[in-house]
Symmetry: C2
Subunit: 222 residues, 2 copies
């Protein structure tokens, strides 16, 4: 396996890798697939693949999402490009990593059986990962935690309608910390990003509570 030349320059392989997050059982989790080929055969890894020459980077990430997860309409953004010379032992491959967010409820159910050898790992208990994928996941977690505090990116993980207490739980799972209920409600309502649905959630053992939804899917920086 040898890298090829382009105008005298050897060109690297270029892949995209997805860090697909969800929250389930009150934990922030990332999707991993078991590798079936060398190198790192049988190790867990991020879903990814080589880009095709006619498709943009975003389109390649979208294709991987559809092929490997079976969904398409999720929040996705480019994270960072990883390109250490030896990250792939075969030859030079650089990877453009993407973050994607999906509510657990939107995953094809049962989510863990959609693809054989797929798992959702809590981000703070990752198994051994192939290539530099642990570094990529850790970088993605850092970005997600920073970004929830200054944007409405969290909508990508929420069901369409929710109680404020559910939104608070989501934040707490992502940042792995507790928030003050009164401050949280006050701050969230002050952003102007939420609207009341007019409906109340009467299911379950808890008291009925107003259901909210995001006014827009557009990402806003607070």
């Amino acid at each position: 396996m040898v890298n090829t030349k382009y105008e005298g320059f050897e060109t690297p392989g270029v892949t995209v890798d997805l860090v697909l997050f969800t929250v389930n059982e009150s934990r922030l989790k990332v999707m991993l697939v078991k590798r079936v080929e060398e190198p790192f055969r049988s190790d867990w890894s991020l879903p990814g693949g080589f880009i095709e020459l006619g498709e943009s980077l975003d389109a390649a990430a979208q294709r991987v999402l559809v092929e490997k997860v079976g969904v398409s309409d999720v929040y996705m953004e480019q994270l960072y490009t990883f390109g250490k010379p030896k990250r792939d032992p075969r030859s030079r491959v650089i990877t453009v990593a993407y973050i994607a967010l999906i509510p657990w409820q939107s995953l094809p159910q049962p989510a863990s059986e959609k693809i054989i050898d797929l798992t959702w790992s809590p981000v703070d208990h990752l198994p051994k990962l192939a290539f530099d994928h642990k570094e990529i996941v850790n970088y993605a977690v850092k970005r997600l935690r920073a970004k929830v505090s200054y944007s409405n990116i969290v909508y990508g993980l929420m069901p369409k309608q929710f109680r404020l207490s559910e939104l608070q739980s989501m934040y707490e799972c992502i940042i792995d910390d507790k928030l003050d209920k009164r401050n949280f409600r006050k701050r969230m309502l002050a952003t102007g990003l939420l609207k009341e649905t007019g409906k109340k959630d009467t299911a379950g053992a808890h008291r009925p509570a107003m259901l909210y939804q995001f006014k827009s899917k557009e990402i806003v920086f607070l």
Copy 2:
């Protein structure tokens, strides 16, 4: 010119491009070089180049900085990877863009004569640029403006020692807006990132004022 194959996948060319910012004459400016080859011969463009197979992306960006600007010790971070299929009319080339910051005083002087066909363009009056470089510059300006408000990244543009009024001017040039003097001083000193040098600036026509410096070059998120 044809893209070559890697394990059955045609591989794109991979370049790095630098968005090198400075502030001079109270304006945020970006360094541009005139292209001497097709495509876009004689158009302005960002300094950049193909990555070499043995070097990391960061190392490639650093090499371009040294070769094209003649400096090395500046703040630099990866910005975003641009990869639309037709961005280079010759064949598929994706580019990993970097932001770099340099104080005007640190440029080899006279800065505009370091390399023939080099210019520093105000970011709000860009000439026609080659490839998708205008899109890249605009994205970089957006990132820089957002980031100065929640980090100490501005140190990359400041001389070693400065008056608080000079720091305020720098912020105003970057965000292209005026700031309240009292609030600015209060907020900056409250961050704990600055220290007094113990020296006063007595040069020029203005009143002597305390000179400050950043305690650390480490990037801190406020």
